[in-house]
Amino acid sequence: MALSRLSSRSNGIARPFSAAFNRFISTDTTPITIETSLPFTAHLCDPPSRSVESSSQELLDFFRTMALMRRMEIAADSLYKAKLIRGFCHLYDGQEAVAIGMEAAITKKDAIITAYRDHCIFLGRGGSLHEVFSELMGRQAGCSKGKGGSMHFYKKDSSFYGGHGIVGAQVPLGCGVAFAQKYNKEEAVTFALYGDGAANQGQLFEALNISALWDLPAILVCENNHYGMGTAEWRAAKSPSYYKRGDYVPGLKVDGMDAFAVKQACKFAKDHALEKGPIILEMDTYRYHGHSMSDPGSTYRTRDEISGVRQERDPIERIKKLVLSHDLATEKELKDMEKEIRKEVDDAIAKAKDCPMPEPSELFTNVYVKGFGTESFGPDRKEVKAALP
């Protein structure tokens, strides 16, 4: 069946990528069971099983979306070096499995809130490449209208609460969102993501205590990429077992480079949170780039370490091996898919480059609620005096 579809594709007729892709996997929902790479380590709870229910469609979907995320981040790297993206840019390549596994386990009613390494999470939540690149380059079509930049992506209709610059500040916010979900009986949960550096912030423990006290459906996810900017985890934390730091709150340690382990853990966490209250997930993951584009990423870790992780634990390679071993596609087809993804990304960048910058009047919008009538001054109260719209 796959073969016949292939031959019709190689006709050389130009087809929109998505249509070709749908044709590829449209009816293949054969269930597949995948074993996670490692067993889960649990704290104050029973770990979920290592066998993850999936399907061929999901497997290919994982590959496709992760390759898209990877390509998007690499393209952002080039754009930054070409000075089309200014300011700060924190790239997620290497950590894609966390974004994709989480999405697979939840719905768009469940909320996600994260820190500044948010491009791929935004994409996972349903954001488009055009919105991503426009926002990165500060254009009007960006998801935050060009006013946020790399660190401030939001998507309200998918319950994606962003995109935060101040380390750790998003976790109490996430617990507040969880409270609202419980109050409104939404049967939904909130995933509050933070890093190993942020794990030492006091406000995290405050939020955790509150969530545990009031049984909020909050899931605190520590994306442990082992470096808080340039500081290795063992130099910043007395106990780098972040999944245990909740003390009275259960925790689970997950191989963050295995998308299926992430999916299983998030599913488990969601069920737990809805029934019993907060839980901590520690995703053992890795970022190939430095902390941000200003950080070469090689002064505090060896190149051998980076290439070692890339060879042994790369999340996309893992999925690729699974796809090939389950005969869902051939090497060539996957390569073609990657080529189409590359083109899709290039097209999105070209489209975003054509997009205009925000109007100068946008400098004053959304400081307060519209129509509040506050005045904003410039020099002498004469030259620039705008009533904030």
Partner: protein, 353 residues
């Protein structure tokens, strides 16, 4: 584009002696250093001269994200120069405790934008310690250093100027240097001052400002403003990186026959009211400029005080050329900033009032 213009304005060489400027520090020559190197030298001297002084903060061990603490850990050891985890509130609280035991705690907050978790410790603990303990305890040995101010592409959380929040707190001092030579002397004064001090360093100038800095140990007195350019028609008051912009505006104004007097406040709390008052009584006009948003900025305090003291001598309303009342924007930075042209316009309006 406007962004490029903004940056090139900052690149001009620094305020040189001459132009009838009155210098409070010896004009002996030293090595040509930029701001981060000057601050680094000050820290080396501080740690060398007092064995009970310590430097700590996020990433200071390898030299810091702006290289201000280069070489300190190697020279003085990891027990005196060390990294902390990512917790500003904890870092400052820890520093207060250390200072309370008679040590000099030199705390680095990585960006002034991140100082807010520590705001409670600074305002409620550090500022009031001596007062509420009836002078039994104090944390005078505490100095908090933080890079502040716009840098061209910093966006909301790497460009803020929070000095106004701290100027509202009796019990601490707030100091902002304008150049490498000033920074070294002022920082050494702050570290040795028996009161807790918040020292904001203009991050734009870390590499851009280069000046001859004497190599020996010297201090510049706190709470003394300096007239760095004399004039008769209007007094301009500023601090930090903004002074470069103001000086360019003064030069342009001079071409149109307006003689400007430029004052560097240096210490914002407690500030040198006498110097500014004497100047305004001479010129009759005042213009204040700072990057922070205009409403509630420190310019308001200067304006109100000068009005009280010089009302009958004023020829025009006090002018404030400041950042706009919005969060520090990302792409709109050139519009937000108090640029040379905005200051020039305000000078002319005030003089022709």
């Amino acid at each position: 584009m406007a962004a490029l213009l903004g940056r090139s304005c900052r690149k001009l060489g620094f305020l040189s002696s001459g132009h009838g400027a009155r210098r409070t520090v010896s004009t002996e020559t030293g090595k040509s250093l930029n701001l981060y190197a000057a601050i680094n030298q000050a820290l080396h001297i501080a740690l060398d001269s007092d064995p009970r002084s310590y430097v700590f903060g996020e990433d200071v061990g390898f030299g810091g994200v702006f290289r201000c603490t280069t070489g300190l850990a190697e020279r003085f050891g990891k027990n005196r120069v060390f990294n902390t985890p990512l917790c500003e509130q904890g870092i400052v609280g820890f520093g207060i405790g250390l200072a309370a035991m008679g040590n000099r705690a030199i705390v680095e907050i990585q960006f002034a934008d991140y100082i807010y978790p520590a705001f409670d410790q600074i305002v409620n603990e550090a500022a009031k310690f001596r007062y509420r303990s009836g002078n039994q305890f104090n944390c005078g040995g505490l100095t908090i250093r933080a890079p502040y101010g716009a840098v061209g592409h910093g966006g909301h959380y790497h460009s803020q100027s929070p000095e106004a929040f701290f100027c509202h707190v009796p019990g601490i001092k707030v100091v902002i240097p304008r150049s490498p030579r000033e920074a070294k002397g002022l920082l050494l004064s702050c570290i040795r001052d028996p009161n807790p001090v918040v020292f904001f360093e203009p991050k734009w100038l870390y590499r851009q400002a280069v000046e001859e800095v004497p190599e020996h140990d010297y201090t510049i007195p706190l709470s003394e403003a300096e007239v760095i350019r004399e004039g008769n028609d209007i007094t301009l008051v500023g601090w930090g990186a903004q002074l470069t912009i103001m000086e360019q505006a003064c030069l342009e104004a001079e071409k149109e026959g307006i003689s400007c007097e430029l004052i560097d406040l240096k210490t914002l709390l407690p500030w040198d009211k006498e110097t500014v008052e004497a100047s305004v009584k001479k010129t009759g006009r005042l213009l204040i400029s700072h990057e922070a948003p205009i409403t509630g900025g420190f310019g308001a305090e200067i304006s109100a005080t000068i009005l009280e003291r010089c009302f009958l001598k004023l020829e025009a309303p006090v002018s404030r050329v400041c950042g706009l009342d919005t969060p520090f924007p990302l792409v709109f930075e050139p519009f937000y900033m108090p640029t040379k042209n905005k200051i020039l316009d305000a000078i002319k309006t005030t003089v022709n009032y």
